[in-house]
Symmetry: C2
Subunit: 155 residues, 2 copies
DNA sequence: GTTCCTGCAAAATTTTTGCATCAGT
DNA sequence: ACTGATGCAAAAATTTTGCAGGAAC
């Protein structure tokens, strides 16, 4: 798992990077950064907004999207789409784990995983492509252990 | 590239599979299957609907989504999300090429690629995961050759 | 004090649902 | 004929845009 320490550092890093880029640390941005720093897997924009509001702060949905967009463009946040029609976001911790996701076909639960061999394969692939590769995403689908144990047909 | 012959066969296969599963071959379904059979890379629901309409047939957007959903649940169509907030669909030809996509960071153009080594890595990974893996998607991002040649900053 | 950020509301997208009608078997 | 599929319209869900007021520097 990603260490709590590294995630805390990421919080400061993120605010620092934004500051140097000339962006102010307003309430919404700080709240989004702080909330993402406390999670170790991806959240939807909805969940992020609700998470902030449940902490007592009020935040506009638009501000959450704007903050996420900025963080994403700055390379501080990873945007992930897992096939449910919505995007998810997670902190991109430098030197932290680079992981991908398995999503359960039945219950939709998301589980992160790391795989160095897979990363190497993608790296080699990147050298072969004519694109100047900047990133990648892998999504694996399948029944999670719990759902596989009870293979009742989908209702 | 996927041969035109195989894609034509896929068209018949798809209708056959649906028929055996007790689904009728109505106008919308046939049109969606026929259109997908003629493409060798993914299309958005929007593009599919417009493609059918430009052929003279009238089709409801909802019917296109319903047809795509059915084809996807039946395993005849692959659903792909490339990070632009919308889903794309493409024929899943048995014995045909199994490919993934590179999407250009600047112009958004989608290019398919195949990589056996990557597939092997994912296969091995699947054996290591506790999930009963049913599928996977890989999306690579980066500047396409054309955009890399003219690296003006994003406006 | 200036400029950027924020919250709210409205708009734009994309996808789903309801329903009366029509078509496939 | 019976049943399921279709088109249209309305609704739902997600993301973006406009704008006046407020906060950061």
């Amino acid at each position: 798992m990603a260490s709590a320490r590294k995630r805390e550092e990421w919080s400061e890093l993120a605010l620092g990077v934004l500051g140097e880029a000339g962006h102010r640390a307003g309430g919404a941005r700080q709240a989004v950064v702080q909330l993402l720093a406390g999670e170790d897997c991806c959240l939807s924009a909805q969940e992020i907004a609700e998470g902030i509001r449940s902490g007592g702060d009020r935040v506009g949905t638009a501000s959450v999207y704007r903050a996420l967009d900025l963080l994403h463009r700055t390379g501080l946040v990873q945007r992930v789409e897992l096939g449910d029609g919505g995007a998810r976001y997670e902190a991109l911790v430098p030197g932290g784990d680079h992981h991908h996701h398995v999503i359960c076909d039945r219950c939709g639960r998301i589980t992160p995983f790391e795989d160095p061999a897979l990363e190497r394969a993608i790296e080699r692939l990147a050298g072969r492509l004519r694109h100047r590769v900047s990133g990648h995403d892998v999504v694996v689908r399948g029944l999670c252990p719990g759902c596989a144990r009870t293979p009742r047909s989908r209702s």
